[in-house]
Symmetry: C2
Subunit: 255 residues, 2 copies
DNA sequence: GAGTGGTCTAGACCACGGC
DNA sequence: CCGTGGTCTAGACCACTCG
């Protein structure tokens, strides 16, 4: 009942006013998050049962439950009745394309074949550095690729990754890759994408983009800038996608 | 404990396989939803306290609580500690523009002045009828309007409403309107928008749209088709917005 | 059958808002 | 001060999964 636990601050960064009071389950939530971040339980693995965690943290099972509830709605954990609670992973069919909202007008939203254009290590330009919250000039990895639908290019992605976290990422590594990118990031580099923010605009296809996407110059394209965050609200990927929306649309739900 | 309550189905439409078991709190949730739908409690008003509802439904307070929790996360109810639980309403500054995701590159996302172009009653074209799940030819109301930012047109909206639910909606009524549209819909027609789905594309400005938005013909515009639902998952509004995204962007969060 | 998460209860106490 | 929602507990039972 008393606050035996460290870090009385609730998750989500420093608030405008210190809350001066933090519910127990928020503290538990922070502790579990820390274990996830520290890799005590790996993606796909089960975490200890609710009763076990309750004993470890010296709180009731209901309190642990509420903490896990929130982490589950934030997609950090996945509950499976009768089996246990598991660390969320990109290595699952169902959540494979959690962040790709592009749907074809006709047909299924299945896997899209892809072609990598380049993969280079370089120093971060000012705008990229600012988005990724690193210093201008620090190392980054740039990846460019195309996604196809029925043999037609539909998406041109320009991806920038924080260099420090993606040491061994090379063009060779990508060319032999069959899994989704985020799966690779998770399994090879221990970087799990938690959430993302997107800024969407309509733009006119420039010469290079038009050629790659096989559309006339000046054709309207959807520009989707995405900033992806990992544990601890740290941005690790900034990408800009150009979508040809003549046969696809971007789907969004408002609640 | 025993299922004294009617309608054992959980909310959310017919499932692929009948659940054959419905938690009590889901049944309570359905009952509360029905009261909301039936207008027992009006938008902005408080609903009975948790203990009171617990007595009425002959369940424990915790069970009512869980039902209300879900309705609150679905934005049907709003909890206010120390005061009570209230029916959500569009008549609040904070939730005023819940569905408008357009953000200016610079400056605040404040209110956008607007100008109504027309408001007509007519028979639903096939595509509109299909989206609104009514018969082709049934009455609908069409509203067209412009939204401005710093004296420049930014959004051109083409709105279609199910005629049966918006009987007294006229151009005069709109011209003297100062509140947001959804506020009017709620207070005058008893239609509250609960959730919406959007399909987003990049399109080229056609002659008429280009003129109204004061952009060159062929300029890239964001096309945002929105289908809005009210209680019971019934679609009541279909709109198509054309956004000029040279000084604004569409913001989205992925979780 | 044993172990997991899921539901439900009853009761205690805390934080907040308003009279 | 009281009534509201918010937290926490302890214990019971149910539904699901797997050996």
């Amino acid at each position: 009942m008393s606050s035996v636990l460290p870090s009385p601050e609730p998750a989500g960064g420093p608030a405008a006013v210190a809350p001066s009071f933090s519910p127990l389950y928020q503290q538990i939530k922070a502790l579990i998050t820390r274990s996830l971040q520290g890799g005590e339980w790996k993606p796909g693995e089960p975490i200890p049962s609710e009763t076990e965690l309750a004993q470890r943290f010296k709180v009731s099972q209901g309190t642990v439950r509420k903490a896990i509830d929130e982490l589950a709605t934030e997609n950090l954990l996945v509950r499976r009745q009768g089996k246990g609670t598991f660390v969320a992973t990109h290595a699952e069919e169902k959540v494979q394309f959690r962040f790709l909202r592009l749907i074809p007008d006709e047909g299924e939203a299945g896997n899209m074949p892809r072609r990598f254009l380049d993969c280079r290590r370089l120093r971060a330009p000012a705008d990229v550095a600012k988005a990724l919250e690193i210093k201008s000039g620090e190392p980054v990895v740039q990846v460019r690729r195309l996604l196809y639908f029925r043999d037609r290019p539909v998406v041109l992605d320009d991806i920038w990754l924080v260099g420090a976290q993606f040491k061994g990422l090379t063009a060779e590594r990508l060319s032999e890759l069959r899994a989704p990118l985020y799966r690779l990031f998770e399994s090879e580099f221990g970087v799990r994408m938690i959430r993302a923010e997107e800024k969407i605009r309509a733009v006119a296809a420039s010469g290079a983009s038009a050629q790659l996407l096989e559309v006339p110059e000046g054709a309207p394209l959807l520009s989707v800038e995405r900033l992806s965050y990992t544990y601890g609200n740290r941005p690790v990927e900034w990408r800009r996608g150009l979508y040809d929306t003549t046969t696809h649309f971007y789907r969004n739900e408002l609640n």
